[in-house]
Symmetry: D2
Subunit: 418 residues, 4 copies
Amino acid sequence: LQKSVVKDIGLAEAGEKRIEWARRHMPVLESIKEEFESTKPLKGARVAACLHVTVETANLITALVAGGAQVALTGSNPLSTQDDVAAALAARGLHVYAFRGENEKEYYDCIKKALEISPNVTLDDGADTIAIVHKEYPELADKMFGGCEETTTGVVRLRAMADDGALRYPVIAVNDAETKMMFDNRYGTGQSTAHGIMNATNFLFAGKTVVVVGYGWCGRGFAMRAHGLGANIIVVEIEPRKALEAAMDGYRVMPMSEAAPLGDLFVTLTGDINVIREEHFLLMKDQSILANSGHFNVEIDIPALERLAATKTEAKENVTEYRLKDGRRLYLLAEGRLINLAAAFGHPPEVMDMSFANQALSVKYIVENGRRLDRCVHPVPVEIDRRVAELKLASMGIRVERLTPEQYKYLHSWQMGT
Amino acid sequence: LQKSVVKDIGLAEAGEKRIEWARRHMPVLESIKEEFESTKPLKGARVAACLHVTVETANLITALVAGGAQVALTGSNPLSTQDDVAAALAARGLHVYAFRGENEKEYYDCIKKALEISPNVTLDDGADTIAIVHKEYPELADKMFGGCEETTTGVVRLRAMADDGALRYPVIAVNDAETKMMFDNRYGTGQSTAHGIMNATNFLFAGKTVVVVGYGWCGRGFAMRAHGLGANIIVVEIEPRKALEAAMDGYRVMPMSEAAPLGDLFVTLTGDINVIREEHFLLMKDQSILANSGHFNVEIDIPALERLAATKTEAKENVTEYRLKDGRRLYLLAEGRLINLAAAFGHPPEVMDMSFANQALSVKYIVENGRRLDRCVHPVPVEIDRRVAELKLASMGIRVERLTPEQYKYLHSWQMGT
Amino acid sequence: LQKSVVKDIGLAEAGEKRIEWARRHMPVLESIKEEFESTKPLKGARVAACLHVTVETANLITALVAGGAQVALTGSNPLSTQDDVAAALAARGLHVYAFRGENEKEYYDCIKKALEISPNVTLDDGADTIAIVHKEYPELADKMFGGCEETTTGVVRLRAMADDGALRYPVIAVNDAETKMMFDNRYGTGQSTAHGIMNATNFLFAGKTVVVVGYGWCGRGFAMRAHGLGANIIVVEIEPRKALEAAMDGYRVMPMSEAAPLGDLFVTLTGDINVIREEHFLLMKDQSILANSGHFNVEIDIPALERLAATKTEAKENVTEYRLKDGRRLYLLAEGRLINLAAAFGHPPEVMDMSFANQALSVKYIVENGRRLDRCVHPVPVEIDRRVAELKLASMGIRVERLTPEQYKYLHSWQMGT
Amino acid sequence: LQKSVVKDIGLAEAGEKRIEWARRHMPVLESIKEEFESTKPLKGARVAACLHVTVETANLITALVAGGAQVALTGSNPLSTQDDVAAALAARGLHVYAFRGENEKEYYDCIKKALEISPNVTLDDGADTIAIVHKEYPELADKMFGGCEETTTGVVRLRAMADDGALRYPVIAVNDAETKMMFDNRYGTGQSTAHGIMNATNFLFAGKTVVVVGYGWCGRGFAMRAHGLGANIIVVEIEPRKALEAAMDGYRVMPMSEAAPLGDLFVTLTGDINVIREEHFLLMKDQSILANSGHFNVEIDIPALERLAATKTEAKENVTEYRLKDGRRLYLLAEGRLINLAAAFGHPPEVMDMSFANQALSVKYIVENGRRLDRCVHPVPVEIDRRVAELKLASMGIRVERLTPEQYKYLHSWQMGT
């Protein structure tokens, strides 16, 4: 068993420095780690974790190890691994198989290496490990306590598996915890997507028309931030209630075919495929910018762009220029991969603190209860969700109001009226 | 059977004019009314509706009558009835029992009059009719198709009844439809609460500290609007996840005891009792303003205010000045009743359009399916919810994006990965 | 000399109550009034004041009288007089010539009555008094200490007079004080224009397209508030730098001919004539709403609307429906007069506090210095402007940072560098 | 004469690529460059330019050279030079004396090298060249056509010189052009300061308390963006009118001594010295972050921080940790130098496009008119300012409204009234 595959173990010290910086901004996870250290609730757990290998993830892994788990870590996106972080964890003696710039084969080889520890828990960010276990390692599936899934994309995929009767072990939809979804997907994706775009392009948001494709929590978050930076927002959405909400929030709402000629910047956050495609590229203005902040690099139809382009050049780091036959230039950022991870640092540690606190407590829940759970997608228990919020508020120095006994009674009675 | 009890039938013409104005801004309800007119789905329904008697409600009643129902209407709050509207409906020959300024006995007498039509459907805005039916007219309860409830407050009350096993007929929680809750409670309450406060006080929001008590959809909506008008917002909330959301939205969050000395204006939107009380009044600045936008006038502890006051005077219409013994003056708006209805026109017709479209379609659903439903609180069927959104978008001239077959397939498959 | 012309002296008590309410929210003017009471700096001054007769104006007049001035008050707009306020002042024995609904002759007759006190100071809100004095009472002009002008519109007019060499006495452009222009024109007009529109129509701003015509301080203020209430904003502007600022603020910017078919609501705040006219009416959507918040009712070309209309009816109070020959309905609010005064209460007292503190101190300045000033438009002395800000901050309980001696020196030196 | 001093000429190609990227986003400057190329208005001009050596500056230099000028370029801040850009310009054969990380002596040596071309025009960003010319090269001063100054800080310094009678040649305050100050200082500094902080710390703005020191255009801009990213803002300001504006904008306003214990992040944008100092450091929370976005690194009292610290370590790139004796850690970003240039790319090209269009046209103006101008600080001629706005709007595809002849006449007449 090869202990680790990383780009350059010499980056370990730089990585540790950055991990420490993140640790200081993840007080909730830190308090859970301290509890884990004394109670060792994860003893006997073998965790295959396929996550973006970032400073925040390093702190989750640290907490799991503190709780007694054995962990093998792989990257959940070929472009998102921070090599210094991978090096730091490898230098600690952990199983790490991840480097920035993996090709597709290397990506899956890394996951398979992680499976050599015979995991009984899987952690996913896009459901790739669980999919491979089901397709190629069914014998592992039957011994699993369960899994955790971090993303909207992955949860959609797992629900489809469960609906097909194909899911062979229980999974906690960590993504759907309120303290995950509404914070990480909204505030985290919102800011970090804008950050990645600034890094790649030094784009001034003020005065620009930004087309936000998808108005789920991620799309809402990015629209809110792009608007807060001075852009004029257009939302493209398929669900009528979300579309209506976008309109009520003061944004223009229209189909992509109408938005295409209007945007200066297009950002996809849908979890769906080919939401910007040939028919749309043909309508865009010269120098339009295209970025994706959804999980997979399938939201922008890159093969179509390749077909349409007369020339393709690297305009600058993370910016590929596609010059169409009529001379118009479209700029694709980070090859259509998650812009916040490819061109910035992913979510700030403050939001990953909550997401990973949910992860850590969900792993504990699975280890303790997984054998008794149905083979479907389960929500994060509300006690965990609420506890994460309470710990976070405490770390921010915020106290909430408390119910009086009279109020408690009032809320649970139906006899009193006007 | 006394056909109607209204303040002044002579106001009917003015009422009709305003009803017509609202009608023009309720295109979804209008299209449902047209459908009802030709299909008469409510034939045989006898509806006791206890709602704020406003121009928007008049259009709901018109739609129900167009669908074949017999309707008896009462007000759902002693201060919210628009007397010209009540007059207009009475002049059309409908059963209307409502006038502005009812005392408590008159309020309940009106409801009881409405029950004389032997209703088989109840519509409530705060669950008062259903509570009376259960407490005093159990024989009516057993013949009901079902009920609809419009407010958060009422739904909380009905869930408590159902949990006690006390609910004797099924109820649709119209409040919880996304196209109701997220729009009416947020955008409607948000704007109209600010409007009522402006009307009562001509208060400049810019530069003021506004304490928003409760961060549910109503509280979020009002916080958003008060902030949009230039105020600095403090949120008081008991649920940790909502408190955390408020903090992430950029607001200060603290217990009421800390907020009390900081606010210029306090607005309650909790559905709970005595959220501002003696201990808080004692901490407030001179000339603090107190308003309620929750359903019942119990959120501010008015009896405590009466006890504390050395003098009580009407500073101006809708503003009662309580001068405390130390000379500080606290201003209570509209006797603590729903400020948006007492001092403004309630929700704008555009949002009531969606709420009442849900009501109208839910009444149809109850008439058609009520006998088969369990005796508990049911959600609005998602098809109704989505249809309301689609009709609304169409009325606004907004088209949404459509899924391609490829996209539909992708979203329902789990085989494709990174 | 007829002492007063008001609608109904019986309204005096109600007026006093409202004046008192405003007084409590005008702490800066109140502290100036107290100073005036003891120092009597306006002794010998005879002031002809042509202002919107509102509760705030009543407090200005009170302060001037406290300072020793004799005052005659007229309304500065035929629709803006609050009759209870006029009654209250008349009942105190003041010269008041104002009632809501004056026709054009009555309007000018009132001004002429006020001139019977042989004023040596004029206060204007739109420059009407000063224009009449110049045109019809030149003998008065030569004895004047000077005048004050409250509005952008009036200042533009007076600068044109001065450029023509026609101005016969010095005028202070109170409008241009920072503590007037940036607060009253922006925060005051912003909120109160939205308030007037809500009162006239119960219009929901969220989800609507609002066309703001003019992006000066008033236009900026209303755009900010309409946006803060959830509307999507389009700005129409002629000055390229302001147009660019609007674009950078995230709004769409375009000529009126492009905006006309897009808006749900059009609001003019330009100080110019016929900014919405026949060519634009012909392009508008059915049920478009038209309102003016500029000083004069000439910004919307009402004669053109009258010509185009097949029918004209009062849809409700303050809403005139013009039905065009093709069936489209355009709604004109408050006959195109200042919507915030015609349908709401004008600026909240908190901003008028600053504007009128500038007025009161400028009157004192004129009485003391007018004879020595050139016959042109003068800025408010910066000491007055800054003093108003300091008094206001103190009244809000806000302390500002103070320069250290080292910092003062640094800011006045040029020797120190990188 | 040494032709250039740069870090690594091998970076030239990378620099050119980035310069080209910026060029595409500076259409106004580009159109001026094209005009300059054909008319050569700068023939005979020798320009010493002391500016942040960025991709945008490279395009300004290109335009000046296209106009016929000889240019020598130095950096205006020891940490702001982009070495690849310096290399690219050097490789073109220009005089460039600039590298990132100059010490104080090297910084001034570079400026002196630039003076070897005997300039007759100086361009400054902080007034360092002009100060040295006055102090050490008076013979150069007398032959100057004039100078241009880009920053608030520099303009303040030059006005102090002029007030002392010390200024020996005319200077255009390019900073004060509306199309510079309101856009670059507000929208540019606003976004890029947030960007630099994100890059240095991956700080999540949502939920944080951010103390903005200074509420001039830069401070307003950053407050707006930090607020737009979800932070709760506190403003510290000395000028009462600006402080009042901040309060009316919905922010808390207080002296630094009150803000110190509340902030998570402190950003200085004042142009003043020691605005955060020992007395404030002693009050701050553990892990507070300190950044400067004013021109010089004197706004935070770093010597005091050094004195107070028990240890000083590099927490990560651009983050210095000062651990106080009681264990609290304060993080200083980028050694207190301009955070947007030290940790991000400075202003986006879209705003520098306007600033540098003003620069280019002001250089032309100086060359043509400098000999006739008084030796003081002059505003940018309003025709230049307006032309820049018009060119920018055109490049954004935005058309503005045009006055009709009737409107033009109305605005210049004073005879028409109510």
